[in-house]
């Protein structure tokens, strides 16, 4: 009997290791021969730990499984009449409605099994790239319409072409796996659940632009991902392209590409002014492709199945799929990969099922700590780069954090400024000083001190941050602040606190 239990950090955080140990122990006690495979997660986190068992009709899922459920599951040989049985995972609505391209294997395979990787279509993209040659590979990536999944949305193929066209003795591929946005975990799931996919994507990038060395920069908050990725790199059969895993050190700003390059070089993670672009002078001054992990992990399927198939998905200038990550107070929190174009309301209400607390949804922050807060009134906004920009927001890395009606939006606006103050690299003045002044001013608003004048000062500060900062940390902090103010003004009207009582 073959049984699958996730080893994904989120599944482990809710007891997957204890469940796996209990299954092994119970099977031994009952004298049943089992093979226990630790997979990544399917991304249906409200059902984790989700256990699957292989049957002649395909896999059958059970969840959420607690160690106390294991005895009855094993005694019944995981039969479909168990109250925790979910049926075939592919038939669960949340999974059935998805278009899984990048996450096709995640949660299904043993992440460190090369046999599994190949058996499930691995390496086809790299093989096709090599048979096409570098120039045609670049063309495929351009034609696919793939844009940077880190948030900036820059066309990946154009970035690669720039590096390919820049002459140098050495070039680098850098994977940005510094996934610091709250509400996002897609990079983590790939590294823990399908790490060879990233290796294949980086190898294709290296082949296309003429680079032989790649770095994966993983944040230190992801120790599981670091372990799995390091092991995958050791096991990798790819010739002619070397990958090194580097670990960050708790600086959010290192998710910004030039700051990440500084950090890789062993320096303070301070942002660089652009130009020069990293594509011309990047890591150690050499032409560098620096891409978000999801961008790189999407390239193998584009090459394997053709650019047209990928570009056929999506809407407007947002082609292909996006792994939307439902998080926070979502009833059905999880990863939902789908073609661009669903409305925010469909994502939050239909797919996410509203709130876990059962209270009404009041606000949704899309795109991480630098993303705007959306009220219900904007739930008709389609999920694509341009539509969100038109509403003074951003899709960022695809995180959607749901808040119920107990949220205090003045507190959220203050937090956005506080976070910017904590994480500012300090290189540019608007971000370094503006964020701290913003927190002080917001405190006055929240104490009811001259609210009109202080809110005007906040708006003015945000203007300076937006147009005067070197990078997106200072530049985008105004999105959560100003959206909270614009859409939830009632939360900023506070009774005047007595100074003595304060």
């Amino acid at each position: 009997m073959k049984i699958f239990v996730p080893r994904d950090a989120a599944a482990r955080a809710v007891g997957a290791d204890k469940v796996a140990a209990a299954i092994a122990e119970e099977a031994r006690r009952q004298g049943i021969a089992i093979v226990l495979v630790r997979t990544g997660s399917r991304g249906l986190f409200w059902l984790e730990p989700m256990v699957e068992v292989a049957t002649p009709e395909g896999r059958i899922a059970f969840g959420p499984v607690a160690p106390r459920d294991v005895a009855s599951l094993v005694a019944g040989r995981f039969d479909r009449n168990h109250p925790l049985c979910l049926g075939r995972p592919e038939e669960i609505g949340f999974l059935k409605r998805q278009t899984r391209v990048t996450f096709a294997r995640c949660g299904i395979v043993d992440p460190l099994s090369l046999d599994d990787y190949r058996a499930h279509g691995g390496w086809r993209g790299l093989e096709r790239a090599r048979s096409l040659g570098a120039p045609k590979t670049l063309e495929e990536v351009v034609k696919s319409g793939l844009r940077g999944r880190g948030g900036a949305g820059f066309p990946t193929g154009i970035k690669w072409k720039t590096v390919a066209d820049t002459a140098a003795d050495r070039k680098y591929i850098v994977c940005n796996a510094d996934e610091g946005d709250s509400g996002t975990y897609a990079d983590r799931m790939i590294m823990e659940g399908d790490p060879f996919l990233l290796i294949e994507g980086m190898a294709i990038a290296g082949f296309a632009v003429g680079a032989t060395k790649g770095y994966v920069y993983i944040r230190s908050e992801y120790p599981d991902a670091v372990r799995t990725m390091r092991r995958a790199v050791e096991l990798s059969p790819v010739d002619g392209f070397e990958i090194e895993v580097r670990v960050g050190a708790g600086a959010y700003v290192c998710g910004e590409e030039t700051s990440l390059l500084e950090s890789l070089e062993g320096k303070r993670g301070e942002v660089r002014a652009k130009p020069p672009l990293p594509a011309h002078r990047g890591l150690f001054g050499k032409p560098t492709v620096i891409n978000n992990l999801i961008s790189l992990a999407t390239v193998p399927s584009i090459l394997a199945d053709g650019a047209d198939q990928y570009a056929a998905l999506g809407t407007g200038r947002s082609r292909g799929t996006m792994p939307i990550q439902l998080a926070g107070n979502a009833r059905y929190g999880g990863l939902f990969e789908t073609a661009f174009g669903l409305t925010l309301g469909e994502i939050v209400d239909d797919i996410g099922g509203g709130t876990r607390s059962g209270r009404p949804v009041r606000a949704v922050q899309v795109g991480g700590p630098l993303g705007a807060y959306f009220p219900r009134a904007l739930f008709d906004t389609p999920f694509d780069y341009e539509a969100f920009a038109a509403k003074d927001g951003l899709i960022g890395h695809g995180g959607v954090v749901v808040f119920d009606d107990s949220v205090d939006m003045a507190h959220q606006a203050r937090f956005a400024l506080e976070f910017c103050a904590i994480e500012s690299c300090g290189k540019c003045t608007p971000c370094r000083i503006g964020s701290t002044r913003g927190v002080e001013t917001m405190d006055k608003v929240m104490r009811g001190e001259r609210p009109a004048a202080n809110l005007a000062l906040i708006a003015d500060l945000c203007q300076t941050l937006k147009f005067g900062s070197l990078c997106a940390l200072g530049g985008f902090t105004p999105y959560p602040v100003m959206s909270a103010l614009e859409h939830f003004p009632e939360d900023f009207i506070r009774p005047r606190l007595d100074a003595a009582a304060d």
Partner: protein, 153 residues
Amino acid sequence: MAAWNEARAEEILRRHEDREGPLLPILHDVQAVFGCVPAEAVPFIAHALNLSRAEVHGVVSFYHDFRPEVAGRHVLKLCRAEACQSMKAEAVAQSVLDHFDLDWGGTTPDGRLTVEATYCLGLCACAPSAMLDGEPMARLTPDCVDDIVREIG
């Protein structure tokens, strides 16, 4: 954790001598061996890498992970970012801090536990979340204090 000793530090430096831009990997290893980046490490590393002490100090002090002094025997990182906020992480944090009578970043007088803030562990669909000695915990409630006490003995 080992006390500062140059032979151990020398070993770490040798392990990274073929690396490009080796300072962060060196500092991570130094902290893994000594529990912190001790003051003595700064001039030692600077000399070995042909950097100024100011440059090395600048890097050590820039990153939240590197600590100048050893932490408690157990380190609990509680997530304070938005996804966890939406699931009342602050109430969880308050119950933990109150129980151990700590402020953020503080260590219990017996050196058993340090509690730190972190901003996102990528466990956002199972919020609120935390990490105890590198092991993930999620769907926390204020009662999680009991589990933490049990874990740290």
